[in-house]
Amino acid sequence: MKSTWGRLFKKKKEKNQDLEDKVGFSFEQVLSPSLCENIHFIKKTLGNSGDLIISEFKLGKPWLNKSASIYINGLTDKELTGHFIIEKLMADASIIDDDSWSPNQLGTYVKEHILSIPHVEMITELQKLFSFLLSGQTIVLIDGWTMACACSSQGGELRSISEPTIETSVRGPKESFTESLITNTSLVRRRIKSPNLWLETQKLGNITQTQIGIMYINGIVNEKLLNEVKERLNKIDVNEIQGSNSIEEWITDETFTPWPTIFVTERPDVVTGNLLEGRIAIFVDGTPIPLVVPATWNQFFITAEDYYLKWLMTSFLRVIRIVSFLFTLLGQAIFIAFVSFHPELIPTPLLINIAAQRQGVPFPIIFEALLMELTFEVLREAGVRMPRPVGQAVSIVGALVLGEAAVSAGIVSSAMVIVVAATAIASFTIPHFLMTDAVRLLRFLMIFLAGVFGIYGIGIGVILLVAHTVSLRSFGVSYLSPFAPFIVNDQKDAILRLPILFTQRGFHFFSNIRKGK
């Protein structure tokens, strides 16, 4: 058995190596002094891409020095490139009125006096040149100069800051992250104006060269945790990084668990709150959903709205969420267990009603339950895929009509339909979709155990689940804190949210995370 598994894995590795060699992105070379050569090389490497714009012009009064500006159409802010680079170069370089300037002097002069872009970097390696070029910077080359100027002129069409689609709130801010890394980090910076908010960037993905940013508050965050995160990110050696999920799977602790161990959100205020608790946010360019580590179980039951409502309401809502969570997880299992294993534990009038309903149904109860569950899942998926105006109608109509029709046809009993519908609705109260996914999977396990062993099965399932959850760690922090290990202080924000008077420093504090336990 071992060798078969081994063989499977080995093959994959070799395949990867091949691909990398072909598409690898490492150049050892430096710029050559000849402008033509450089331009030629750049064109060749980019395969004469249609969006590569090279404009050549001459600097200086005698119009002797050839130079060129290179940028990629669409990635740059054309106004910036036009006004502040090319125009400036053409106009102000007229100061250079003789040819006694060496290319180096010329280049330095251009950088220090002419280019009025805020950030200009001098580069010599082609590696860096391509990296900057493809990030949207404009490269200025001068004939005879072995260096080039990379001006930050990133721009182009990006989605503007819009309202959050998944996590909406009534009273809180209505901004959500966009696909641009800089915009996202700026949204967070606007909320935490402390100099201790640090951002570290790196590029991951051999082909995609995606920019990744780690944000944390120095002083609150735990050193060990930070090092752990950085280490895991550095270990990623893959060709593509598309969306935060790819990183998630590389840096997550354990893969064999249904619970989400990394938190995601699309709201800046949520990220802000998490950073203040000592967590670390990982932004990925191109994704409007950053990751937050480490994650604890009760994070998935808190919404941003909680902090904008009164404490009584918040506590009440949170309790409802947890109760519905339990109901979603166990509701159907309990129904099956009682009806098929322990009918003696149901009050008599109710039992008679249920018995009457089941008279005409041909299937055993487990089969019914699984059938209804799967139907619901299918309807849910279908509703998501359909275009918006039609999608809502399909799921509602589908559910209602199918349910009614199935009951009348005698395929399922109405009690079962009610239970399935109730558990489905209860699952919608869970604020976070990752947790809902986990519950949807676990539910099947519970139904199975209940169908085989009745109440005893549910008990066993619960014990196994709790033991498994308790042993999980997300980046070294135990997943179920602050419940187990029980930290009294942190209970102020765990399930109930106590009023501010009780919490001395405000809302956010998870001592476990700061201690890194």
Partner: protein
């Protein structure tokens, strides 16, 4: 690590493949709502004749599940056997599915069997986990339990449930006959004396058996809660009725609400007093090696109907009424006491009170208590009544 996964997979399949043993489909269950036990025959093989009343759910449940022919809401089957369990099992070849006992509402015992002794009947109920011990027992007078389970009832489709409802309302509103639950009877079985409520069948059993019986406005055949059976050593000794039965309730502190009628100067039994609350305290004194029972009954009542014109606006009248009421209650209780003492049945559980009071003394007299000492025991009854109100009017319109 591989071996671990293998082991886990083996266990998993073991569990799945072997099936679920306790899984029952509701369709396969016949929910039994009532059990009746009668005397079977004379031989050991058919000692008991048991009857079960099975619910027909589709006729009872709310909501239309496929409108079928109107049939009776319950069905009953009978079989005989040497033990209860055997007799119950034998019924299964008449029924299409497995008998399901946890929802039994009532157990009916035929008078004939009760006369011979019912001590042995309860072991099955205690021991078998599918019998819940909260259901009441009743004794059928003059008919068999089998007949009693055949009568259809109005308002509540399942007759067994109707019997329970009648027992409950009887206990709460008229407080004449208590509900005797199995778990209350069992501890007293060996000690000897206890009481069980009885039911009567009015009308013809054959008519009661049909569903037309309940479709009429007045049911010619119906079940009525009547009579309190006193048992000694597991056999019926005598029946108490009406006020004598009520006396038991007064003493055992089971009185909830009832109605007492008093005499008017001109008319007998013309004033009705609603009893709202009642409480009895029993204290035992041991004088000269003999126990003396001192009972205090405290009740609260209000005038609810008069048929003569009493001057109810005067406090004096009310006090008079109170005195009358006390006398009336005392007489009821004394009458009951006399019957119990004559029959040598300590229905009230005074023995236990003596045990609590003085355990050494009780140990001495325990064996002779019921037959020798109890019939001679001095009983002092003190009744304190309060009448608070007279309803919405003070004086009656009657001149």
């Amino acid at each position: 690590m591989q071996r671990l996964y293998l082991f886990l997979i083996l266990i998993f399949s073991l569990i799945c493949l072997s099936g679920c043993w306790d899984n029952v489909e509701l369709k396969e269950l016949s929910i039994v709502s009532g059990i009746g036990i009668d005397k079977g025959g004379d031989s050991d093989e058919n000692r008991y004749s048991t009857t079960v009343q099975i619910v027909n759910p589709s006729q009872v449940a709310g909501g239309q599940q496929g409108g079928k022919v109107q049939s009776a809401p319950v069905t009953s089957f009978t079989a005989t056997g040497s033990t209860l369990k055997e007799a119950l099992r034998k019924i299964s070849h008449k029924v299409s599915s497995q008998l399901f006992f946890p929802h039994v509402q009532v157990m009916i015992i035929g008078e004939e069997l009760a006369k011979e002794g019912i001590l042995e009947l309860f072991d099955l109920i205690e021991r078998d986990p599918s019998f819940r011990v909260l259901f009441p027992i009743v004794i059928v007078r003059g008919h068999t339990a089998e007949d009693a389970l055949k009568i259809t009832t109005p308002l509540v489709p399942i007759p067994s449930m109707k019997i329970v409802d009648s027992l409950e309302s009887s206990e709460k509103i008229w407080s004449e006959y208590p509900i005797s639950r199995v778990d209350q009877i069992i501890p007293r079985l060996n000690k000897g004396s206890f009481s069980i409520t009885g039911i009567n069948i009015n009308g013809e059993v054959a008519i009661g058996n049909k569903t037309e019986n309940t479709q009429q406005i007045y049911q010619t055949a119906n079940l009525e809660i009547k009579g309190l059976a006193l048992f000694k050593e597991g056999k019926i000794e005598t029946w108490l009725e009406n006020e004598s039965a009520r006396g038991v309730m007064w003493v055992k502190n089971q009185m909830e609400q009832t109605v007492v009628t008093l005499d008017c100067p001109k008319k007998k039994d013309a004033i009705t007093i609603d009893i709202l609350r009642a409480h009895s305290d029993i204290k035992i004194n041991i004088k000269n090696e003999k126990p003396v029972i001192n009972m205090t009954i405290v009740t609260l009542g209000s005038v609810s109907e008069t048929q003569c014109n009493l001057p109810l606006e005067k406090n004096k009248t009310i006090i008079e009424l109170e005195k009358q009421l006390s006398e009336e209650i005392k007489e009821e209780v004394l009458k009951t006491m006399k019957t119990a003492q004559d029959r040598k049945i300590d229905v009230f559980g005074f023995g236990n009170n003596i045990n609590i009071e003085d355990k050494k003394y009780w140990k001495k007299i325990e064996s002779t208590w019921e037959d020798e000492i109890f019939p001679e025991t001095e009983i002092n009854i003190n009744v304190l009544t309060t009448i608070r109100r007279t309803g919405m009017r003070i004086n009656s319109y009657i001149e």
